[in-house]
């Protein structure tokens, strides 16, 4: 069972890792973007923590929707609306819940990824956050369906995301700012996929 305190822990851990990886993410975005992804994510999750107290007494759905609002109003760029929509749809999918089963989390993750696809129209292989998230959600779902423990399933999700991030390196970007580089985007790791991986890792660490 995932309790509310796990969710709050997840958000705190996310903010922590994004602060820590700020320069790294921006460095990745310097190579194939405009050198702001780390700053954007860090700014966003700082705001998330700042606004968390207003919502932390509410249900998990409301908390996640609050996160969405924080991100939407502070991140900007491409990742702002994308992660914003992810948390919004994730929140909608678990509306009213005070705790989540492994099954609930599956729905929630799927809803989040669907939100990103709806907003950004990226497909797997486009060298975006989808390359980390889609395999991760798939791996998690299969594991849960196969009867894995929650923590095992989450570990599989993280592993899949990690591999997804690595897989972005040889890809030619088709979406977002990196797509302007065409062939020249090859050989660089996607910043958005990388931040997605950090978010999943933070989730795993909070639930363990």
């Amino acid at each position: 069972m995932i309790k509310k305190k796990h969710i709050l822990d997840w958000l705190n851990k996310s903010a922590e890792v994004l602060e820590e990886k700020k320069s790294y993410l921006t460095k990745l975005d310097t190579a194939i973007g405009d050198a702001d992804h780390g700053n954007n994510m860090n700014r966003g999750f700082k705001k998330v923590l700042e606004q968390l107290p207003t919502n932390e007494k509410k249900d998990i759905g409301a908390i996640l929707k609050g996160v969405a609002m924080s991100l939407i109003s502070t991140v900007g760029g491409a990742s702002g609306p994308l992660y914003g929509t992810m948390f919004l749809q994730a929140g909608n999918s678990v509306s009213g819940k005070e705790e989540l089963t492994a099954e609930d989390l599956k729905k929630m993750l799927q809803a989040g990824v669907d939100g990103i696809v709806m907003r950004g129209k990226a497909k797997i292989g486009d060298k975006t956050m989808i390359d980390a998230l889609e395999p991760a959600v798939k791996a998690y779902s299969s594991a849960v369906s196969a009867g894995d423990e929650l923590t095992t399933a989450l570990q599989k999700a993280v592993d899949a995301a990690e591999k997804g991030v690595e897989d972005t390196i040889p890809l030619i970007a088709r979406k977002g700012r990196a797509s302007y580089l065409g062939e020249r985007s090859k050989g660089h790791q996607d910043p958005g996929a990388t931040s997605s991986y950090y978010l999943l890792k933070a989730l795993r660490d909070s639930v363990q």
Partner: protein
């Protein structure tokens, strides 16, 4: 990094405060969320023109707020699209009942944030249309990329649509004009040096002492081609060739359908320039290049246009859409009919562009 700034975290806020201090007679700067509105309220019945984008391109867009141009501008963090709440608050502040036209440069972030903002504003009963500007011929295809970036043509559109809005165009007519202008405009940029976003330790891209980058974007995105330093004339010839010989360009663009009450997508094709065209020519500094060098560039632009049977009927030369302190320039040609020229010449009173006021 040497810049005239204080703590990088406060750069944007302090620069906006400075803008307010300097241009308080023309604009009001709002904070949390940040947006800039014209001093006198939008006249009743006039469509409100709003734009926005990452900061670092000044005077665009905040410098184009005022009579005859924008009603509001939404400055994002440096090189980062603004957030929907900025655009939403701006729309609420400047809508006079005739609706809001958002001029949106085609970057994934700008497009998505403006879409969310438009949805939010519509929720409040405000009529909102978003028109995309995608004029950068350095981006060749739209199938495998996020499509052409919105660059120089944006400035010309803000002036011309601003004039038309003051002249009473309703939202539909103004949107049509905006789309036409976007289809008529083509740009290309180049950089001699890179730029550094405040707080970052390294430049947006590395460039050798004897290298230039052709087809650069305005966010320090690397361009399409790295080349050895060339004479200005050669550079201009390359850029003008890209612009003048750019073939028909087709892509899918999204806009709001007021009848269907939903977003719709449509295929749009821009036609190439041809002999006999009249154009507005715009030579722009990336920020660090002084106007004297732009005049050298303009000389060659005019020479090439003449040779190709293209007539420059108006021009703009200066730093209007910049990339921080980057050295380099961009060239924009906008095919201009009577309507465009009429509103190009119309009065405007903004911090960055003044005409007959």
């Amino acid at each position: 990094m040497k810049k005239l700034i204080n703590n990088p975290d406060n750069v944007l806020k302090e620069q906006l405060q400075g803008m307010q201090a300097a241009h308080g007679d023309l604009i009001n700067v709002h904070f949390d969320p940040a947006y800039i509105t014209r001093k006198d309220p939008t006249p009743k019945g006039k469509v409100a023109l709003v734009s926005g984008g990452g900061s670092g391109h000044e005077p665009m867009h905040g410098g184009f707020v005022g009579k005859g141009m924008l009603d509001a501008a939404c400055p994002g963090e440096i090189f980062t699209s603004p957030t929907p709440d900025q655009m939403y608050e701006a729309a609420k502040a400047v809508d006079s009942g005739a609706g809001v036209l958002n001029i949106v440069k085609n970057y994934t972030g700008d497009v998505m944030n403006f879409e969310m903002a438009a949805d939010m504003a519509r929720g409040e009963g405000i009529k909102v249309q978003n028109i995309i500007v995608d004029d950068d011929v350095a981006v060749k295809d739209s199938l495998y990329t996020a499509g052409r970036r919105g660059v120089g043509t944006t400035v010309l559109i803000e002036k011309i649509c601003g004039g038309a809005a003051e002249d009473g165009y309703d939202l539909k007519k103004l949107s049509a004009l905006c789309k036409k202008l976007n289809q008529n405009g083509r740009s290309m940029g180049m950089a001699l040096t890179s730029c550094i976003t405040p707080g970052n330790a390294t430049p947006s891209f590395e460039i050798g002492d004897d290298e230039i980058e052709l087809g650069i974007g305005i966010h320090g995105e690397p361009g399409i081609k790295r080349s050895k330093m060339m004479e200005a004339d050669e550079i201009v010839e390359f850029m003008m060739d890209q612009i003048l010989n750019d073939p028909a360009y087709t892509r899918i663009l999204k806009e709001w359908d007021f009848d269907k009450d939903d977003w719709v997508e449509a295929e749009v094709t821009d036609q190439p320039f041809k002999k006999g065209d009249q154009v507005i020519a715009f030579v722009n500094s990336m920020g660090g290049t002084p106007v004297s060098e732009l005049y050298g560039v303009y000389r060659k632009v005019q020479e090439i246009c003449e040779k190709q049977g293209i007539k420059i009927v108006r021009n703009l030369v200066g730093p209007y859409i910049t990339a921080l302190e980057m050295q380099g320039c961009s060239i924009t040609l906008l095919k201009a009919d009577n309507e465009s020229v009429k509103y190009w010449d119309a009065p405007a009173l903004t911090p960055g562009i003044r005409v007959k006021m």
